[in-house]
């Protein structure tokens, strides 16, 4: 186990990268603390897999360094880095039995056979593979094969980091839930550093202590699930995390006042100066409510989701979503809404304006 530091990491798949779009990873400085459970969240093509492959050593970064516990491993092969990686699609060694598949990483490190047996049995029991150990791996279903892949990732207890690259994509929904809690359990029991790549926010938020959100080869925010929810640092985070995502509305800042569509929006601490760039007001549906003295809107539709209702309202051309409690009456006569002054934030070119809002 180790602390992993990435220093000014950049990577490009193009021979001579020129413009910004050539960079799959555009300058990353990150530190993964020892024993943390991280989720790496972002849309497809944002560089998540590239980042994992750089940490495991399958890719050499174009620029920057990778450090394990302060030691530079940038030029080391995957073999010498002592990492485990599980990919999106099942990878099994077809010619070997399930047992041999699971034992493979251990045997390669010269672990004694009794210890191999003990460890493999333990991991197999955890993943409910114990009945299949003698079977040939090639005959298993996709689920079973992916469990082998997961098992191979977890079988060594001395790895620096275990990385999962969307490991549950091919797994049945009900089993997904089970395996995710298993992974969490493994993490609590052995305390490995784990990095879990996903584009599913539920997966990320349930698995991780810390969520790293990436967009276009950059890290836009690192924080606990609560941080990401309450204080998204980028409109992308606000939009990507939460269901429905954050409302993002054009706004203007004038003499310390935030104005949305001609109406002044009260914020606890609005930006002191007028920030440069395109200004937007971000507020989560959870922090919008009906208020008699608010902004006049019209109700477009109400979705009753049981525990709460998602109400879509309109203000001119702008759609705003808000969440109303179960059974709350939706005003039909000239509804007005208000934003929670502590939770609404101003964003300039997508990024939260510092000091613009405080908790």
């Amino acid at each position: 186990m180790a602390r992993i530091t990435l220093e000014t990491l950049r990577h490009s798949y193009v021979e001579k990268p020129g413009s910004d779009v050539d960079w799959a990873l555009a300058s990353l400085d990150l530190e993964w603390t020892d024993g943390g459970a991280y989720a790496l969240l972002g849309p497809s093509g944002c560089g998540k897999t590239t980042l994992l492959n750089i940490i495991s050593g399958l890719l050499r970064p174009t620029e920057g360094r990778v450090l394990f516990d302060g030691t530079d491993v940038t030029d080391k092969d995957p073999v010498d880095r002592h990492v485990a990686q599980v990919f999106q699609f099942p990878v099994v060694y077809d010619t070997m039995s399930v047992f041999d598949n699971l034992a493979f990483p251990l045997r390669n490190r010269g672990v004694a056979e009794p210890a191999v047996r003990e460890r493999v049995t333990e991991v197999a029991r955890m993943l409910e593979l114990d009945g299949l150990l003698a079977r040939r791996a090639s005959g298993l279903s996709a689920d079973g094969k992916q469990k082998i892949s997961l098992g191979r990732g977890l079988v060594r207890s001395d790895v620096n980091v275990v990385m999962f690259d969307e490991p549950l994509t091919v797994i049945d929904p009900h089993l997904k839930w089970v395996l995710r809690s298993k992974l969490k359990e493994v993490h609590q029991r052995f305390g490995n550093t784990m990095i879990y790549v996903t584009h599913d926010q539920t997966e990320a938020l349930t698995f991780a202590d810390q969520v790293v959100v990436m967009l276009g080869g950059r890290v836009v925010q690192i924080g606990t699930p609560v941080d990401l929810f309450e204080a998204p640092r980028h409109t992308f985070v606000g939009h990507f995390i939460g269901s429905p995502g954050m409302n993002i509305l054009p706004c203007a800042v004038d003499a310390g006042k935030v104005v949305f569509d001609g109406e002044t929006v009260a914020l606890d601490s609005p930006p002191r100066a007028v920030p440069a760039g395109t200004l937007e007001l971000g507020v989560r549906p959870e922090f919008v409510r009906f208020a008699p003295d608010g902004i006049a809107v019209e109700v477009v539709k109400v979705d009753d989701l049981g525990r709460h209702q998602v109400v879509e309202v309109r203000r001119g051309a702008h759609a705003i979503k808000l969440i109303a409690a179960e059974g709350e009456a939706i005003p039909s006569e000239r509804p007005r809404i208000a934003f929670d002054p502590r939770r609404a934030r101003v964003y300039a070119d997508g990024w939260m304006v510092e000091g613009g809002a405080s908790r």
């Binding site: 495991s56 050593g57 073999v79 999106q88 990878v91 060694y93 077809d94 493979f104 990483p105």
Partner: protein
């Protein structure tokens, strides 16, 4: 109508098997009987033709020569094609697609085109009339074919298999031999089969590049037809024996070939 549905396939099989049956039929007849008239099966059943082939060295060395250069060629082709196919399937490099296509164009010319240059070249460097000469000449066609087939099989193996093996602590050579090759045995089988087949049936280059020491069986057969009169029974027996190795090899790879077709590479 439904009771007759066996008819078409049966007719088809009969149609396909007829020449083979006729060859077999002739091989058990004496030459006189063959020339004498029409008979559906041998009236004077004889094994003399086969006996002659297995005892007369001018005959059986033909088989040995053919098998020798075919096996050498198959081994060289597959061995050379494995790393090449791996490179084409796993790496992107300058002109990779063009080169891959160009490999195929090599097969577009008839072998006769290359008969003269090979003949002259091998005569000049003293390779004429050796097994290796024919084996190397056939590589010109077989290596591209093997690369093409193997590339298809290799590309159907996800890259993550390689990566997992590296992360799990295997070096590249170890991975290639112990994990990758066993995973693509089917592909190696199909590639070897096609190399074997091509080399086995190719006559023109084999005949041009040999005279005595490495003369292939097919050449022996044509010679017999012209010198000591018509030994039709003997020729039929030789023909029957020539079919055997191919049939034997195809039996082993029949399941793999279907997979090769599915990958679009056969």
């Amino acid at each position: 109508m439904r009771r007759l549905k066996w008819l078409v396939p049966t007719l088809y099989v009969v149609f396909l098997m007829l020449p083979i049956y006729w060859l077999l039929n002739m091989s058990f007849k004496t030459t006189n009987e063959i020339l004498g008239g029409f008979s559906l099966w041998p009236t004077e059943f004889t094994l003399d033709n086969y006996r002659k082939i297995f005892t007369d060295s001018t005959w059986y060395t033909g088989y040995l020569n053919s098998l020798t250069y075919v096996v050498i060629n198959t081994v060289i082709s597959v061995t050379a094609a494995l790393p090449a196919a791996y490179a084409f399937s796993r790496y992107r490099f300058l002109g990779d697609k063009h080169l891959f296509f160009w490999l195929l164009t090599n097969r577009m010319a008839p072998p006769a085109v290359f008969a003269l240059p090979f003949f002259q070249l091998y005569s000049a460097i003293g390779l004429f009339d050796t097994h290796i000469a024919v084996a190397l000449a056939h590589c010109l066609f077989n290596i591209p074919l093997a690369v093409w087939i193997l590339e298809g099989f290799m590309s159907s193996v996800p890259k993550e298999l390689d990566e997992t093996a590296y992360v799990d602590g295997y070096s590249f050579p170890k991975f290639f031999v112990k994990i990758f090759l066993p995973t693509i045995t089917a592909g190696v089988g199909v590639a070897a089969f096609f190399c074997f087949m091509f080399s086995w049936v190719e006559l023109l280059l084999a005949k041009t590049l040999t005279s005595v020491d490495a003369k292939p069986i097919a050449a022996t057969m044509t010679r017999t037809a012209s010198t000591s009169g018509y030994e039709l029974g003997l020729l039929a027996a030789a023909g029957t024996l020539t079919i055997v190795p191919g049939a034997f090899v195809i039996y082993f790879v029949r399941n793999y070939i279907a997979k090769g077709f599915a990958l679009g590479r056969v």
